[in-house]
């Protein structure tokens, strides 16, 4: 069975400090990994996906198959980064079922 684990429910970081949100997964095949974000009073939206290898809003995430991790990183936190972050995976086979972690609430301290 596929599972996504986000060990931190809450994370507080000072503005300008580096940010790392942890995500570990278990899946027997070759998954596709995503980070979704939900800002206050907004809908859930895609932040980035590992196959695109893009940097969105300064965030990056590297898929480590050996450690089955997909941690989200940003070198310098900004106040507008405060939000709920969800790591998710799907089978890399056209099946769209997204399996989400429980989320991490990131608060940037001014």
């Amino acid at each position: 069975a596929q599972r996504v684990t986000q060990p931190e429910k809450l994370l507080s970081v000072f503005k300008g400090a580096p940010v790392e949100l942890k995500c570990n997964y278990s899946y027997s095949g070759s998954p596709e990994l995503f980070w979704y974000v939900q800002y206050s009073r907004q809908r859930l939206q895609l932040l980035l996906r590992h196959i695109s290898r893009e940097s969105i809003k300064g965030f990056t995430a590297d898929l480590n198959k050996g450690e089955t991790s997909f941690h989200l990183k940003k070198p310098f936190a900004q106040e507008e980064d405060s939000a709920m972050y969800y790591c998710a995976l799907t089978q890399n086979s056209g099946n769209e079922k997204l399996t989400f972690g429980t989320g991490t609430r990131l608060t940037i301290i001014p």
Binding site: V4, R43, L44, Q45, L46, R49, Y86, A88, G94, N95, E96, K97, L98, T99, F100, G101, T102, G103
Partner: protein
């Protein structure tokens, strides 16, 4: 395009009642998925429909059912409501198997 739309925004029902939630996908998107998000948890997959056919079903009881219409909009039906069905119900649409775009959700409260 307004994005994925869902109705109603909020809903209050009592145990044993039935509820229908509606979703309109982004224009051109033929795939619709439904998720349940209980407070403090991530969204959990309920159903996926593509071209009016069920493509996937999550681990939910038969009280949950859904369908997709010729215009690709979708309904989620829940029968014999239980207190534990109280949650935010999210709809997402996508073009083929591309990125899923989420709606604002319907907040269901069962009393």
């Amino acid at each position: 395009d307004a994005g994925v739309t869902q109705s109603p925004t909020h809903l209050i029902k009592t145990r044993g009642q039935h509820v229908t939630l509606r979703c309109s996908p982004i224009s051109g998107h033929k795939s619709v998925s439904w998720y349940q998000q209980v407070l403090g948890q991530g969204p959990q997959f309920i159903f996926q429909y593509y071209e009016k056919e069920e493509r996937g079903r999550g681990n939910f009881p038969d009280r949950f059912s859904a369908r997709q219409f010729p215009n690709y909009s979708s309904e989620l039906n829940v029968n014999a409501l239980l207190l534990g069905d109280s949650a935010l119900y999210l709809c997402a649409s996508s073009y083929l198997t591309d990125t899923q775009y989420f709606g604002p959700g319907t907040r269901l409260t069962v009393l």
